[in-house]
Symmetry: C2
Subunit: 410 residues, 2 copies
DNA sequence: TATATTCGTTCAGCGCCTGAACAATAGCCC
DNA sequence: GGGCTATTGTTCAGGCGCTGAACGAATATA
């Protein structure tokens, strides 16, 4: 019956329009990656003909996505080329992080720069979805107005939510921390919008943070990496070949409940020896002899960092031990996924100086392919706004994948 | 610098030839999935025009990949269509499983049927790479001759190896159980070949077994599952959304070296407490009080199965313990990837009746999403030959992705 | 100033898909 | 049986996108 199952991801026909789409995306991506660049150098880099590149660049200029920047100052023989750069004001995305302790909106341009940011702190837990989404709509309205003032055409709005999201229906199925069940976020927001909005999409905040890291960090385009987010719990966003892997049912990335010590302390989840029991913030604080985190994460993190900077042996040993446990988990990830980079986010980013060495030791010892293909470990590039920025970059990624769609439609 | 990283997996230009390639692959895949099918129904299924489908089918007929099968017997109004089927003798692949306990070669046709099979049992551990590869070359020579006798054009040879494979260089970097390091398998085989061979590729056996399972098993095309292959070592092939995930550098799926007991027995890989040290066949045999596998896996497996069928408490406990260790690894896989199915292959398939219950218990306890999204555990559809069949299907998959390349080249 | 080199554009040519038109073939109804 | 309808498969002009060569433009070197 099924036998040789076809490559399912693209079960639709292709025609010349797709060729143009693909090549336009290729040209724009090349400019984004290595600007400034002349048409001839783009042709050399992409393998396209100068004629084709010229034609595509014309379209991109009309779309306002790239700009000519006078003749190239690059020294060399022959006629100098015309430098092309990404238009800083060519396109923007709006991203909202909708979290338990407040709302944050950002406007991000094609260069990944945050051009506008507004945060509205405040507990969202007991306000109800309708009230929260009304506030969100007002925040988006203001961000759209700000983008308009900045001369930025907004290509889409992304919403980051801490919960399980049905991407097809664009519905938040379950967000325990917000107390939401089956909230059709996009539909509701549309009804609250004051003016016409561009396309709105919802996604899980951890996923979007990983995407933000992928796009804003210093990554090679086809990277595979894991964003390990440390807090009281430990989660992971897995990006394989530049694509986020969400899991077949939206339950992926639970690194915190990897078994590190089968006979270790019991975990909330019911199992024993879970990673977050011996590498989470609570464990580190206890082991370092500091009081547990009662309020926000920062309240607990600041004294820990102060103690570490004082070269306190007990605190350093605690973080080192956590780092070695984390290393077991990271090694498992690398052995299974063969990612080449591990990005440490959340408190792990702050603790990176003390985590780095012991983590590397364990990873080097436990990753089979380590001698041939070293694993890079580095702290996250984006801070706490990673999810909002990832949400804003989401529509920009769609634009980059099909740069001429907007022009053709408009 | 990098900012919005482009979709990298395809950093090369596209032209009309790629359009043709893609659409030809689409048409052939449709025939493979739902044969027999008329041109008109292919057009309806793919979204292509009848004109385009007609043209592509002409090419596929010339290439000998599909056959016309008289007028359709499908009852209906109007002129009946001409049924098209995949040509059973249109193409074949040769697959070799190169394992510790012997060599197996198969010839598989486009329908996934095994048309030829030869197994050469015998311990390969201490023979040295040169001797093993010479035997392999002779086996491939005989398989190519057999395919020729059957009238099957062989489109490629796949080699399945239990170890880390560098897919780019086609070199086995490390195969601990064979005692291999940096063996350029394809290059060596080429020098041992008697006659001209088609393209040869090496890949990890677990990956290939997963591909075999994906293509031959009763899977939906977009399934996500993990095939856990048990032998002396333990490997995993991860299939996400119907695509095998090899890892960014081809080193993925090393489930056997997941840390299960950080202070456990030392492993060949240099680390401690690796899963295959406490769930591999060697460990099970030792724990059950049976002699270690000296010759083939079967020589060791048969008495083990006999003992188990006799309800021997010690053997059942040994397998149960291995199953619980395996459960820790499987739970890690599921927590990270959120796959909905775990397929047990190799000796784990044979031991399934005794593994099933203890494995399920551990998985249920350690998988976070288990209460909401149960994990299915089942034995592999393909038997011990899964890796060999997957290896043989590998070149056929390449053919399916670009059906007209061979014709155009020839 | 003359030559070599490189850049960007233009244009004919080709391949591929589309959509309409057409002949072929079958069932259905009178 | 004869018309009518429905469906299949092919043919052909048309459009689109890429290629490759030719050409003018601009700059460095001799």
């Amino acid at each position: 019956m099924s036998t040789l199952a076809p490559d399912s991801s693209r079960r639709r026909p292709t025609d010349q329009a797709d060729v143009r789409r693909h090549n336009a995306a290729l040209v724009l991506a090349t400019v984004v990656a290595d600007a400034p660049l002349s048409r001839a150098r783009i042709a050399a880099a992409t393998g396209l003909t100068r004629a084709t590149v010229g034609s595509i660049v014309d379209d991109l200029l009309v779309a306002g996505l790239v700009l000519e920047q006078g003749t190239s100052s690059a020294t060399g023989l022959g006629r100098p080329g015309t430098d092309l750069v990404v238009a800083p004001d060519g396109a923007a995305g709006v991203g909202v992080e909708l979290n338990v302790d407040g709302l944050t909106v950002v406007v991000v341009d094609l260069e990944g720069t945050v051009r506008h940011r507004v945060a509205r702190p405040g507990d969202q837990r007991d306000r109800g979805a309708a009230a929260v989404l009304r506030s969100t709509a007002r925040l988006v309205d203001s961000a759209l107005a700000a983008a308009s003032d900045l001369g930025l055409p907004v290509h889409g709005v992304g919403i980051a939510v801490p919960g399980l999201v049905d991407l097809g229906e664009q519905v938040v199925r379950l967000a325990p921390n917000l107390g939401w069940t089956d909230v059709p976020v996009v539909q509701r927001l549309a009804s609250y919008a004051e003016a016409a909005w561009p396309a709105v999409t919802v996604d899980n905040e951890a996923n979007l943070a990983a995407l933000g890291e992928l796009w804003s960090g210093d990554h090679a385009p086809s990277d595979s990496f894991v964003l390990v987010n440390g807090d009281v719990g430990v989660g992971a966003g897995v990006v394989l070949d530049g694509r986020l892997h969400r899991g077949s049912r939206g339950f992926g990335g639970e690194l915190g409940h990897l078994t590190v010590a089968p006979d270790g302390p019991p975990c909330r989840c019911g199992a024993r020896g879970c990673l977050e029991q011996v590498a989470g913030l609570d464990w580190i604080l206890a082991e370092a002899g500091l009081p547990p985190a009662s309020g926000s994460t920062d309240d607990a993190l600041v004294p820990l960092l102060a103690t570490l900077r004082d070269d306190d042996a007990r605190a350093i040993a605690a973080v080192g031990s956590a780092a070695r446990s984390l290393g077991v988990g990271v090694a498992a990830l690398v052995n299974l996924f063969d990612v080449d980079t591990v990005v440490l986010g959340g408190v792990f980013a702050d603790l990176f100086p003390w985590i780095d060495v012991p983590l590397r030791e364990v990873v080097a010892a436990r990753v089979l392919s380590a001698p041939w293909a070293p694993v890079r470990v580095r702290p996250a590039a984006l801070g706490r706004d990673a999810a909002a920025i990832g949400a804003a970059l989401s529509p920009l990624r769609a634009l980059l994948a099909d740069p001429l769609a907007a022009t053709l439609a408009g």
